[in-house]
């Protein structure tokens, strides 16, 4: 039986950031009690069909889960511990925004059971934070980081780079400052223009111009070098950690493990209790609109849109899609066991050989890995490789 990773989605934010396409919503007043109850009910529903099993991680994501009442966080953690068999080193992460309001609640969240914090710092430059439409300053972010460092044994923060007009020199300085502040983990994302966001329309009008592919590649290389020099290895395309400090929860996504997702718009990949075959992967998806989701949970006990059993080919594609993002690559034995597809049947042979010859991928020790040059072009590589 696969150990479980549990994702809890909190869909509310204080303001909508102009680049963000996550399922996040702004409300005058957050209906805390209603959503607490609904999340707990949906967790119970999910546990019933999953059955008792080892629980490896819990992740509170959003939205801005640092806006959750700490009691709700505590209750959900308690429920999960009761419904599953928590592993001794159960990882419990919560995403937090570094505004002063939320920073004040960090201790309470720690007391609720959170043992890993992920802070959305985004930038250490005030002008950049304004351009990103963030509601906090660099000083607030630094203060929140310092505060969190004292509270949580494990700490990560996010930065967005390759921003419009950002020079390599400016990023070098900002990243150096970030590495000096870093604990054991960093997520460093290049700014992506997502459809249907405020940035998308400004991009279409030419008001936002991103660095071109060559410049982005240079910034990416620089990022990897500097992080490595500070002892943070790139273990995924945009994630850097000291050895052993990788996000176990996110690894479950990338390794295509079982993860259950509750809350509005949450996705999951689960094998159900009683399904002997490890290959019977169900893709789950919840209603996106928070209130509609809550109403469904109140009515039926869950807010599922549709749960779909994935075909072997789909599982194979998803495993390749996720697994090649990891520096460790894909365990081919696990690939076959989990997807039900022979590796040779899942990839285009000619592309694979060419990719090996070009130094994009390696096949060694029963693993397929994207090498740095391949990682840099992973989307194009996947498009050609995956059949």
């Amino acid at each position: 039986m696969e150990p479980l990773a549990l994702y809890v989605h909190w869909p509310f934010c204080l303001a909508k950031c102009p680049y963000c396409d996550f399922n996040s919503h702004v409300r005058d007043e957050i209906p805390q009690a209603r959503f607490a109850a609904a999340l707990r009910r949906e967790l119970a529903f999910e546990a019933r069909r999953l059955g008792r099993r080892p629980l490896a991680s819990i992740f509170f994501g959003g939205g801005t889960p640092s806006l959750m009442a700490p009691e709700t966080v505590a209750a959900l953690i308690e429920d999960a511990r009761a419904l599953f068999d928590p592993l001794p080193d159960l990882e419990i992460t919560l995403e937090a925004n570094p505004t002063s309001v939320e920073a004040g609640r960090l201790a309470l969240l720690r007391d609720a059971g959170v043992n890993r914090l992920s802070l959305g710092v985004q930038s250490l430059d005030d002008a950049a934070l304004r351009a990103l439409g963030r509601g906090h300053s660099a000083a607030e972010a630094r203060a929140a980081l310092e505060h969190a460092r004292a509270l949580f044994p494990r700490l990560s923060f996010d930065l967005i780079y390759a921003r419009p007009g950002q020079t390599p020199a400016a990023w070098r300085a900002e990243l150096a400052a970030a590495l000096a502040l870093a604990a054991d983990h960093l997520s460093l994302y290049q700014l992506t223009i997502e459809p249907d966001t405020a940035f998308a329309s400004r991009h279409a009008r030419g008001e936002i111009v991103l660095p071109d592919a060559d410049a982005a590649a240079a910034l990416y290389a620089l990022t990897g070098e500097m992080a490595a020099a500070s002892g943070l290895a790139a273990y995924e395309v945009s994630n850097y950690a000291r050895p052993g400090a990788e996000s176990r929860h996110n690894l479950a996504y990338w390794r295509y493990g079982d993860y259950a997702g509750i809350g509005p718009g949450a996705h999951g990949r689960i094998t159900l209790a009683g399904d002997a075959a490890a290959t019977a992967v169900l893709a789950t998806r919840r209603i996106r609109t928070p209130e509609a989701w809550a109403a469904a949970v109140e009515r039926a006990g869950h807010g599922a849109v549709a749960d779909v059993a994935l075909a072997p080919g789909e599982r194979a594609r998803e495993m390749l899609l996720m697994g090649l993002r990891l520096a460790e690559g894909i365990d081919l034995a696990r690939f076959v066991a989990r997807s039900g597809v022979a590796f040779e049947a899942a990839v285009d042979h000619e592309t694979l050989c060419a990719a090996e010859a070009a130094g994009y991928v390696s096949r060694e020790g029963g693993r397929l890995r994207a090498l740095p040059e391949g990682l840099l072009r992973l989307d194009a590589l996947l498009a050609a490789l995956v059949v």
Partner: protein, 601 residues
């Protein structure tokens, strides 16, 4: 309707350079003789195909029968023949002109004589036409009728002292044109009692009537119910309808000598109706055909391939439908290692090629890859066999070739002398041989012999650009000549892409190979792997470029647990790819096939 005595018939064409006012004048003539009510008068009645209208050109010959009561009090039948104005359709023009006794030569009095004016007027002279010069647009302040009159005499060598000065736009002196037609053009001649001889001027497919044939009766009568015979192939048909254009179609009992009109005869496709053929009576056939018949021969060929291989049948069907109405264009299935199944298509010229391609995409919604156009080479093998080569990919190995001949043209270029230097340079670059250079005022007229191969890709564009649009150009085919030609193959990652190979003169081959590699480097977007583009003659590589791999293409942000979105994106991408043309692992965009071979630096 057709009981007009032969001495009161006038058959005429209008010849003019584009935009000098041919259509406007035709409209005026129709209007002032009452052929159409004002309400029916859409602008430019004669150019009725959408595409023709957009480009301001005529593809199909058409006629209008005008009834005009002249100053002498008698009623005349004036048959206006609208001829295709473009050089690609020169043979069609010559057949249209053969159906008339005279021409109106329309010259824009503010512009003067242009290359197209010349080419057409020489054809009219060859057809023994009486030519009436018309100076149009004299309403314009910039009009210089006296200068242009002089120019007509100097350049063309015809008497222009009686040129009719008009404004087709304002309607000024249209009467003068009508009177000139009656008094200056000869009446047709013919023998009503001789066996039928009618010239097949043109034909087109009408969805309601089937094939409609435009004819000019020379001798005898053409009647409804008559059994006719095509003299080129002996095919016999039963005439169902006889009529004239007013310009509306009006049925009549028969057409007498000197008349122009149409017939229908339950004919399925225009391919059975060869322009220039002689139609005679099946039971009482003429012994000799009218002179000058030749089947139309395509001079430019290119491959047309569906972008989506699944569209092959649709392409075949669409080509068939187009051919119903245009027998001058040819197509045969062919396969390309690079492009799969498609057709090798022959055209009368570049404009013709463009028109067909545009119609295929516009009317039939087909996405096509067109390979570079090629002229027809004559390959003399060492074995003595002579072959026509339509596709560079089919060129035999050099050891099997004794020599190759290529087609030449005789080009007439008129240009203000400020730009003459640039034009001469261009012609020399294209292996041109100067045949004549004369000046008329501040305009130069250069006559060059040029290999057609040097003209097919982009000569016209270059001519326009080096002369800022002031040069005009026309040409006629001028025989074959031996030449030192080689085939240049283009290889992508070492694999030859047959659809990109082309033939060039040896002296230009290296430069052109380099230019094409350079251009492909710009045209082919960066891809997953780096791409080597090479040009080679035989086994010898003459140019090489490398397209580096994409520098970065990876989604930065992980979508949490929402893998479905990424997977579906990937699946859609794969679907799209299946429909794309792949060369090994390289995607070459459609546009590259034509654009790569444009020659300007």
């Amino acid at each position: 309707m057709t009981d007009t005595p032969i001495e009161r018939i006038r058959n005429f064409a209008i010849i003019a350079h584009i935009d000098h006012g041919k259509s406007t004048l035709a409209d005026r003539l129709i209007q002032s003789t009452g052929g159409l009510s004002d309400r029916e008068m859409t602008n430019q009645v004669l150019d009725n195909m959408e595409l023709e209208r957009e480009r301001g050109i005529t593809i199909k010959a058409q006629t209008v029968r005008l009834s005009y009561r002249a100053k002498d009090g008698l009623l005349y039948a004036l048959n206006l023949m609208d001829t295709p104005g473009h050089v690609d359709f020169a043979y069609e023009v010559s057949r249209s002109l053969a159906a008339c006794e005279g021409s109106l030569l329309v010259v824009d009095a503010s512009q003067g004589v242009e290359a197209q004016t010349l080419a057409n007027v020489y054809q009219a002279i060859e057809a023994n036409h009486e030519i009436v010069p018309i100076l149009n647009k004299i309403d314009l302040p910039a009009a210089e009728p006296e200068r242009v009159r002089q120019q007509i005499e100097d350049v063309i060598g015809i008497d222009a002292s009686d040129a009719v000065m008009i404004s087709a736009k304002t309607g000024l002196n249209i009467e003068g044109v009508l009177e000139a037609l009656v008094t200056r053009l000869p009446a047709p001649r013919g023998d009503a009692s001789a066996p039928l001889k009618a010239l097949l001027v043109d034909s087109w497919y009408d969805p309601y009537l089937g094939v409609v044939i435009l004819v000019r009766v020379k001798d005898g009568r053409l009647r409804r119910g008559q059994k006719i015979r095509m003299m080129s192939n002996g095919a016999v048909h039963h005439v169902e309808q006889v009529g004239v254009f007013s310009p509306k179609m009006i049925a009549v009992e028969d057409l007498a000598p000197g008349e122009m009109g149409y017939i229908t005869a339950a004919i399925k496709t225009v391919a059975d109706c060869n322009v220039g053929d002689t139609i005679t009576d099946d039971r009482q056939p003429a012994t000799t055909a009218l002179p000058g018949f030749k089947p139309s021969v395509p001079v430019v060929w290119c491959g047309l391939y569906p972008t989506d291989a699944d569209d092959f049948e649709k392409l075949r069907e669409s080509l068939g439908r187009l051919r119903l109405n245009d027998a001058s264009f040819h197509y045969d299935p062919e396969t390309s290692a690079a492009l799969g199944f498609g057709f090798r298509c022959g055209f009368l010229g570049l404009l013709h090629l463009e028109i067909i391609q545009e119609r295929l995409s516009r009317e039939f919604d087909l996405n096509l890859i067109a390979t570079a156009p090629s002229v027809v080479y004559r390959v003399h093998r060492t074995s003595g066999v002579v072959e026509e080569l339509h596709n560079p990919a089919d060129m035999p190995d050099g050891s099997l070739i004794d020599h190759i001949e290529e087609p030449w043209i005789r080009a007439t270029i008129m240009v203000p002398d400020d730009y003459l230097g640039a034009i001469l340079t261009l012609c020399n670059e294209r292996r041109g041989q100067q045949a004549d250079l004369t000046y008329v005022g501040n305009r130069a007229m250069a006559v060059y012999r040029l290999p057609l191969n040097e003209v097919v890709f982009d000569f016209y564009d270059r001519l326009k650009s080096v002369s800022r649009g002031y040069a005009s150009f026309d040409y006629q085919m001028d025989g074959y000549a031996e030449s030192d030609l080689v085939r240049i193959s283009i290889m992508v990652n070492g694999d030859p892409v047959d659809a990109l190979s082309f033939i060039a003169h040896r002296a230009a081959a290296e430069g052109r190979g380099r230019a094409i590699c350079g251009r492909l480097k710009d045209l082919i977007p960066r891809q997953l792997f780096k791409i080597a583009v090479q040009a080679a003659i035989g086994g010898r590589v003459i140019a090489r470029e490398t397209i580096s791999a994409l520098s970065k293409d990876v989604t930065a942000k992980c979508y949490g647990g929402d893998i479905s979105r990424k997977r579906k994106l990937l699946e859609k991408q794969k679907e799209g790819k299946k429909r794309m043309r792949q060369f090994g692992r390289v995607e070459i965009p459609q546009s590259a096939f034509l654009a790569a071979l444009k020659m300007d630096a």
